[in-house]
Amino acid sequence: MFELLKSPVESVQEFIYLSGRAVRNVFRRPHYGDDVVLQMEVIGFGSLPIVVLTGFFSGAVMGLQLSKALAQYGAVGKIGELVAITLVRELGPVLTSLMVAGRNSSGIASELGSMKVTEQIDAMRALGTDPIQKLVKPRLIATCVVLPLLTIIADFLGLVGGFVIAYTMLNLTPSHYWNSAWQAIDFSDLFQGLIKPFSFAFVVALVGCHYGLRTTGGTQGVGLSTTRAMVVASVWIFVLDFFITRLFVRA
């Protein structure tokens, strides 16, 4: 029984240790600015197409689904409001983070994992750089900056997607749709909608780094780390999403 629990407990322990060191090091020298910019480009700019597409189509699908449900109550006019609230509070942050987790948690894990199995991580330490400072910190900072921005883009395109449906199929005027959408969102929604991707950024970056850095056993190990990073990051995004939402929703 204890043997069975040993490896997950050790893994969690290592993860907490890594996270602690990474977060503590954020304000400590040395800073590798070039690496932060490079990672922002890889994670942020690279994720733009998938975020744009998922954002747009999830908004459009929501418009379609809601149009039917709302028609029963004769409340089709409310569509802008509903799309806006669901997107900003929930779908924008979660879908964006899931896409970025699928793309970058696994990407980070395979990159760092390959470096680990070819002794590049050891070489880094031997040649005077702390892998946490040089590899983990830039990825963490870049993800924390980029993920909320990507979420804003996804939110906006989701609203556009909803608008396309509302305008073409439900014959709503643009001003009606955008006004109801705009008025539906209050400050706490925006706050919730931004604190979520910011928190998920820690999961995406640190889970990827964690599995990358503890890779053992050659190329096969790299594959295993990559899969695990993606799965674990995605699951934790949902779990964390529940707890953050719980903070905002008081019954």
């Binding site: 002794e119 590049q120 050891d122 880094m124 031997a126 005077g128 702390d130």
Partner: protein, 273 residues
């Protein structure tokens, strides 16, 4: 830092290390003095790599003390270890080059990142060129490691280890997986690196022949060639010592003559040619 010539540069005292339950270093004790050459023999999985990584503080032993330049590194924090590592050059088994960086960036990496060294930026390129010239690869500055052959990558690794002019050099199986001719080139570079800079050299290998070359040859800076030791009147008494490891235990330490006289079947298998 103790500066007298007899001070131990690297000292292991009863060092043990286990992965999970398997012991990989078992009460290893030895000490290497300044200017010595140490050849670490052992079959695959005998703990050679682990020993070298422990000497750099990349792995922490479960018990025992490791002293580098007279400082007990088992008590140091990771951030304090960098000052020690700045004075040690290491060649990893597969070279350990950063494959996303060019050769120039690889070799300049320790110069730019070792806090203790603080090499002015304008000097970096000339030192990198000098180090690459030393291994005769000065034309590869802008290439990536994947564009080079295995032997060339190993040579770049040597250049990266030597570029900081460290007083202690560690080589992890420098000839593993190389053809005999390339292996010979690599060993002569190691001898050259040792004799030009008078660096303490530790080489892990599974080939006894590599070790005997280190013992037999000297680099003559005047002729720029390797010569048999003692030929030019330099001291014939060798500073080369051998160690043999078997499954984490250090089972022999001594001179070449003692090694060749040894009757142990494991050792005899190495020494036999």
């Amino acid at each position: 830092m103790p500066s007298d010539n007899n001070a131990a540069v690297l000292r292991f005292d009863q060092v043990s290390l286990a992965f999970e339950e398997t012991p990989v270093l078992d009460r290893v004790s030895f000490s290497i003095r300044r200017g010595e050459t140490r050849v670490l023999l052992g079959s695959a999985g005998s703990g050679k790599t682990v020993l070298l990584k422990t000497a750099l503080g990349l792995l922490r032993p479960n018990s025992g003390t490791v002293e580098v330049f007279g400082q007990d590194i088992t008590r140091l924090r990771e951030s304090e270890l960098y000052d020690i590592r700045a004075r040690v050059g290491i060649l990893f088994q597969e070279g350990g080059l950063f494959d996303s960086l060019t050769i120039e960036e690889n070799v300049s990496y320790p110069l730019l990142n070792q806090k203790l060294l603080r090499v002015p930026r304008e000097q970096v390129l000339s030192r990198v060129e000098q180090a690459l010239e030393f291994v005769e690869l000065e034309h590869t500055l802008d290439k990536f490691p994947s564009e080079l052959s295995g032997g060339m990558r190993r040579r770049v690794g040597i250049a990266r280890a030597l570029v900081t002019d460290p007083p202690l050099l560690l080589y992890d199986s420098p000839t593993a997986g190389l053809d005999p001719i390339t292996a010979c080139t690599i060993i002569s570079l190691i001898i050259k690196g040792r004799d030009v800079r008078k660096a303490t050299t530790v080489m892990a290998t599974h080939r006894y022949q590599d070790g005997t070359w280190l013992d037999e040859f000297r680099y003559n800076p005047k002729s720029g060639r390797l010569e048999p030791a003692g030929g030019d009147g330099s001291p014939g008494d060798s500073k080369t010592k051998f160690m043999v490891m078997q499954s984490g235990r250090l089972m022999f330490e001594g001179s070449r003559v003692e090694l060749e006289d040894c009757r142990d079947p494991y050792i005899a298998k190495f020494v036999k040619r």
